[in-house]
C-alpha cells in the first residue's frame, strides 16, 4: 500500500566513504535508507540516516553543510561520481531525493583533491581557497576612504558580467570535477569579477600574479581545457573566465618583466 499523498516514497542504498581521520584508512560502507519521502533533500536524508546510526551506536557520517539553500558553499559531496550530484547548476543541498529511483545504489564520496586534504568521512579542508583570496582576491579600500558610489559609472554589460563571475560560492566543485584538480575556474572567477570593474584596475596585475602564484603553491593542478569545472559549478560560472585570466596573467607577466616593483609587492603571497 502506498500512502495517498502527492509525494512518493523510495528506498535506496548509500555507499558512503568512511574515514575516521586524515591518516586513517578509508573505505566504502553500505547503509540502507528506507522509505524516504521523495521531497526530502539529500542532506535531510543524511540527517535521518545519521540519527539512525546514532541510535544503533555507529558513528554518524560527518559531512559539511550549513545554509542548505545553495549559497554558502559549505556542502560538498561527490554523488555518483559528480560533484554536487546529478542536478545541473545546483549544490548538493539543493538536490532532492526525487532525483533518484527506488532501489538505486548511491555512491557518496568527499571532494577529492591533493589541495583539499581529508578531515573526516566526507569533510575536506578547503583552506587553500582562502589562502588564494588572502594573496590577492580583493580591492584595497579601507573603510572611510571610499569615493561617492555613483562617481564612476560602470557599463551595465561589464557589471553584469562581473556579477556572473562574482556568484562563485567557493565550494570547490570545480577542483573536484577536474582530472588535474585545477582551481582555475575559482581563481579566474575572482580575477574576472574584479578585473572587469574600474575599481579593480589599480591592483589588476598584482592580483592575478599573486593569486596564480598562490594557487600553484597550494598544489592545485593546471588547466587542460576540458571544462568539467563549469559543468560541475553550482553557479554555472563560465570557463570563459579562465581564458580571460590567462590573458590577464600573460599581460601582467610581461609588464612585470619591465616593472618588477609593481608586481613583487603583490598581496601576502
Amino acid at each position: 500500500m502506498v500512502a495517498a499523498t502527492t509525494s512518493s516514497t523510495i528506498s535506496v542504498t548509500l555507499r558512503v566513504w568512511r574515514q575516521a581521520g586524515p591518516k586513517a584508512l578509508g573505505q566504502f560502507k553500505d547503509y540502507p535508507a528506507k522509505d524516504l519521502n521523495s521531497n526530502m533533500s539529500f542532506l535531510e536524508m543524511l540527517d535521518v540516516v545519521n540519527d539512525e546510526l546514532t541510535l544503533t551506536g555507529e558513528a554518524p557520517i560527518a559531512f559539511a553543510h550549513d545554509c542548505r539553500e545553495g549559497i554558502c558553499g559549505t556542502c560538498s559531496l561527490t554523488i555518483n561520481g559528480k560533484p554536487h550530484g546529478p542536478g545541473k547548476g545546483i549544490a548538493t543541498c539543493q538536490t532532492y531525493m526525487r532525483s533518484f529511483r527506488d532501489g538505486d545504489i548511491i555512491v557518496v564520496e568527499p571532494f577529492r583533491a591533493a589541495a583539499f586534504p581529508l578531515i573526516k568521512d566526507l569533510v575536506v579542508d578547503r583552506t587553500s581557497f582562502d589562502k588564494i583570496m588572502q594573496a590577492g582576491g580583493f580591492i584595497t579600500a579601507r573603510a572611510g576612504s571610499a569615493p561617492e558610489a555613483n562617481a564612476a559609472p560602470v557599463p551595465k554589460g561589464d557589471s553584469d558580467l562581473a556579477m556572473d563571475a562574482a556568484q562563485c560560492i567557493g565550494c570547490g566543485a570545480c577542483v573536484a570535477a577536474c582530472k588535474n584538480a585545477s582551481a582555475m575556474l575559482f581563481v579566474s572567477a575572482k580575477v574576472g569579477h574584479l578585473g572587469l570593474l574600474p575599481q579593480g584596475q589599480a591592483e589588476r596585475d598584482r592580483r592575478v600574479l599573486a593569486m596564480v602564484h598562490t594557487m600553484d603553491e597550494e598544489g592545485f593542478g593546471n588547466c587542460t581545457n576540458q571544462y568539467e569545472c563549469s559543468a560541475a559549478c553550482p553557479k554555472t560560472i563560465s570557463h570563459d573566465f579562465i581564458a580571460r585570466m590567462n590573458r590577464d596573467y600573460l599581460g601582467a607577466t610581461l609588464r612585470s618583466a619591465f616593472n618588477p616593483e609593481a608586481a613583487s609587492s603583490a598581496g601576502g603571497a
Binding site: 553543510h65 583552506t127 559609472p153 551595465k156 557589471s159
Partner: protein, 639 residues
C-alpha cells in the same frame, strides 16, 4: 540589578553622532598595536569590524566556527540593502529612512541609534562599491534601486537576488586582505564556548577547535561578538543549520543582559513546510512583493487549482486591507494577515498552510523574460524545492522564522553592560525595535562594523592601560576552560536514548506553537512548563556519540541545542511579561478589533533586558525606558 546606561548623547537628533564622534577618546596610532581585540563571527558585522580595526592598527584575532569566513549566513540575504542616497529623486532622506525604520520597528527602538544607522547608510554603499560589489546598474552605468516593504521610496540597492552574498564577499575580501597582510590572525573551525570576565571586564574567550577538539584560552583588551541571531531556537527557520546562539548565550550567562528576546521576525514569504524530516525553510525574497500579488480564495476550503479560481473569487487581502502599502506592507503585518487567512480555512496547498504569490499580472506587464531578469534565480530556487514553475502557476508561500530583533543589550557605543564586550549586527538588539524592515539587516551589520565600532571601541580602550591584559593562566581563564571541558564530558558521558536533533525538533514545535506568530498568556505559561521539563530530559537522556578530541558534529550540536532550550525559555518569559502587542510580538489579548497590534506605550515603552540568575531560576527583568524626543509614538498605519 544591572546598570543600563544607554549613553545616548545629548543635543538635536541629527547632531548626536557627529558630536559623539568628536567627544570620543582616541587611541594614538603607536598605541593601537598594543591593544588586542577579539572578533567572534565573520558575517557582515564581524568581517567588516575585524578588517576595519586591523586597518586602523589594532591587533585583531578573528574566530569563526565555519571552515572559512565566507560562509556566514549573511551570505543568504537575497533582496537588498537600504541606503538614503535618494538616487531616485523620490523624496528620500536620512530623516525618512530613520522615520521608516523607527515606525517599522513599532516604536520600540532607540531614536538615536536608528538615526545614526540612517546617517551612515550612504557611506556603506560607497564603501561596498569601492570594494567591487557588483550592485545592479542602469544602462547609463549608475546604480539601480528597487522598493521594499515598509517604505514608499525606492532606496534598496541590490545584486540580483544575492545581495547578501555580494556584500559578504566584499567584507570577506577586506578581511582576507588584512589576514594576508598579517594584520588579522584568523582562526577558522573555532567555536567560542565561553566569555572570560576579569574584574568585571570582558578580557577573553575560550575556543574549541572543531577539527581537533583542542580547547584554548585567548586574552584580549576587548571582545566583539558578531555571531548573528538565534532564530534556530525554532528549529525550522530560514537560518543556516549551523547558526546558533552559543556565543551570545554564554556571554549572557557571564553577566551580559539579553534584551527583548521575544522580538522575533516571522517572514511572510517562505516556501511552506512539506514534512517532518525537514531541516530548513527557504525564503522567497521580499523583493518579489514588488511585482507579485498575494491572494487567497475568498471561500473556505476552495481547493480548485489557482487558474480555475476567477478574479471574483480571489481575495487580494493585503491590497484590500492596506491600500496605500498593498503587497509591500511590513513583514510582521503581512505574516499575520497570512496566518489569519489560513486560520479562517482559506489557506492553499496540501497542508492548508499557504497563500498564493502570483506573478501573472507581472508577466503580462513585463513579459516572462522581464520577470526572469528580475527574479530568475528566486524562481529557480522555488522550482528546485517544489518542482513547480512560478511562471506557470502562483508560488505558494507561508511565514517562517527569519530574524531576531532581540539580542544582547548594548549602549549607544554598542557595548554591553559588561565593559569591554561589544556586540554587533543581529547579535545585538539595538536598531530594529520590535520589527525589522526588509533590506535593513545588511545595512545594520555593515554600519556597525565599518562605521560605528571603529569609533566606539577606541573610546573604551583609551581607558584601559596598554599591556594590562590579564594572563591566560589567570584563575578566571582556567575556570572558564574547565567549565567548557566539563560540559563536553557530560554530554559524551550521558549515553542516553535520543539523538540531539529530536530535542531540537521538540523545542522548535513548542516555540512555534506558543511563541510564534500569535502568543497568549495560557500558551506561554504552558511553554514555560514544557521547556524546563525538556531541558531536564535532554540532559538526562541525550545521546552524543564519539569523543571530544576529533571532529564531532553531534557534540557541537548538543552544546548549541542545550543553549537554545535555555534561551527558548527566556523568550517565552519575555513574551509573557510583555503584556502588549508590538511588531513581531503579537499577544492575542492585545489587539484592535481589526486584528492590528495594540501597544501599551505607558507600561511597555521600554527595553526589557534580562539578567541571568542561574539555569532554572527566573532571570531579573531590567528596564531601559525609551524616551521618544523627536518622533511621536503613534499607532502604525499602513492603510
Amino acid at each position: 540589578m544591572a546598570t543600563l546606561d544607554s549613553k545616548i548623547p545629548s543635543g538635536p537628533l541629527a547632531d548626536k553622532w557627529r558630536k559623539h564622534k568628536a567627544d570620543s577618546k582616541l587611541v594614538n596610532p603607536a598605541n593601537k598595536r598594543k591593544y588586542e581585540v577579539i572578533v567572534v563571527g565573520a558575517g557582515l558585522a564581524g568581517s567588516s569590524a575585524a578588517s576595519s580595526l586591523a586597518d586602523m592598527g589594532y591587533k585583531v584575532k578573528s574566530f569563526v566556527f565555519h571552515d572559512s569566513p565566507r560562509r556566514a549566513h549573511s551570505i543568504a540575504a537575497q533582496g537588498g540593502i537600504n541606503a538614503a542616497k535618494n538616487y531616485q529623486n523620490d523624496g528620500d532622506s536620512v530623516h525618512r529612512l530613520f522615520y521608516d525604520t523607527i515606525k517599522g520597528g513599532d516604536y520600540r527602538a532607540r531614536e538615536a541609534n536608528v538615526h545614526r544607522l540612517a546617517e551612515v547608510s550612504a557611506n556603506i554603499i560607497d564603501q561596498c562599491v569601492a570594494q567591487g560589489v557588483p550592485f545592479a546598474r542602469e544602462y547609463g552605468g549608475l546604480l539601480a534601486n528597487r522598493s521594499f516593504g515598509g517604505a514608499q521610496v525606492s532606496r534598496t540597492f541590490y545584486a540580483r537576488g544575492q545581495t547578501g552574498q555580494q556584500l559578504l564577499l566584499g567584507a570577506y575580501s577586506a578581511l582576507s586582505r588584512t589576514v594576508g597582510q598579517g594584520l588579522v590572525e584568523l582562526h577558522t573551525n573555532s567555536e567560542m564556548l565561553d566569555l572570560v570576565v576579569v574584574n568585571g571586564h570582558a578580557k577573553g574567550v575560550i575556543i574549541r577547535n572543531l577539527i581537533t577538539g583542542v580547547v584554548t584560552r585567548h586574552t584580549a583588551d576587548a571582545v566583539i561578538l558578531a555571531t548573528g541571531g538565534y532564530g534556530n531556537v525554532f528549529n525550522l527557520s530560514t537560518y543556516a543549520r549551523q547558526s546558533n546562539a552559543t556565543a551570545i548565550w554564554r556571554a549572557y550567562k557571564r553577566g551580559a543582559c539579553m534584551a527583548n528576546p521575544c522580538y522575533t521576525q516571522i517572514h511572510p514569504t517562505c516556501i511552506p513546510v512539506s514534512g517532518d524530516y525537514q531541516s530548513k525553510l527557504t525564503l522567497m525574497s521580499e523583493s518579489l512583493r514588488n511585482d507579485g500579488r498575494i491572494w487567497a480564495p475568498k471561500r473556505k476550503g476552495d481547493n480548485r487549482a489557482p487558474a480555475e479560481i476567477s478574479e471574483d473569487d480571489r481575495d487580494y487581502y493585503l491590497e484590500r486591507l492596506y491600500p496605500s502599502f498593498g503587497n509591500l506592507a511590513p513583514r510582521d503585518i503581512a505574516s499575520r494577515a497570512a496566518k489569519r487567512v489560513c486560520d479562517e480555512g482559506r489557506g492553499v496547498g496540501e497542508t492548508g498552510l499557504g497563500v498564493y504569490l502570483d506573478f501573472a499580472d507581472a508577466i503580462k506587464r513585463l513579459g516572462e523574460n522581464g520577470v526572469r531578469e528580475r527574479y530568475g534565480n528566486l524562481f529557480d530556487i522555488y522550482h528546485e524545492i517544489t518542482a513547480e514553475s512560478a511562471y506557470k502557476q502562483p508560488m505558494r508561500i507561508y511565514p517562517a522564522v527569519h530574524y531576531t530583533m532581540g539580542g544582547l543589550w548594548v549602549d549607544y557605543n554598542l557595548m554591553s553592560n559588561v565593559p569591554g564586550l561589544f556586540v554587533l549586527g543581529e547579535a545585538n538588539f539595538s536598531d530594529h525595535g520590535a520589527n525589522r524592515l526588509g533590506a535593513s539587516a545588511l545595512m545594520q551589520g555593515l554600519a556597525d562594523g565599518y562605521f560605528v565600532i571603529p569609533y566606539t571601541v577606541g573610546d573604551y580602550l583609551a581607558g584601559q592601560k596598554p599591556g594590562s591584559r590579564p594572563s591566560a593562566d589567570s584563575a578566571e581563564f582556567k575556570a572558564a576552560e574547565e567549565s567548557v571541558n566539563a560540559m563536553s564530558k557530560r554530554f559524551l558521558a550521558t549515553k542516553g536514548k535520543q539523538p540531539v536533533s529530536h530535542f531540537h525538533k521538540r523545542l522548535g514545535k513548542i516555540m512555534w506553537d506558543h511563541c510564534g506568530m500569535a502568543r497568549t498568556k495560557e500558551g506561554l505559561e504552558d511553554a514555560l512548563q514544557k521547556i524546563p521539563a525538556l531541558r531536564e530530559e535532554f540532559h538526562a537522556t541525550v545521546n552524543v556519540p564519539g569523543s571530544g578530541d576529533t571532529l564531532n558534529q553531534s557534540l557541537e550540536q548538543a552544546g548549541r541545542v542545550a543553549d537554545f532550550i535555555e534561551l527558548g525559555e527566556l523568550m517565552c518569559r519575555d513574551a509573557l511579561t510583555r503584556e502588549e502587542s508590538c511588531g513581531g510580538h503579537f499577544r492575542e489579548e492585545h489587539q484592535f478589533p481589526d486584528g492590528e497590534c495594540k501597544r501599551d506605550d505607558e507600561k511597555f515603552g521600554h527595553v526589557a533586558a534580562w539578567e541571568f540568575q542561574g539555569v532554572g531560576k527566573t532571570a531579573i527583568r531590567n528596564v531601559e525606558p525609551l524616551n521618544y524626543e523627536f518622533v511621536k509614538m503613534s499607532v502604525r498605519n499602513y492603510k
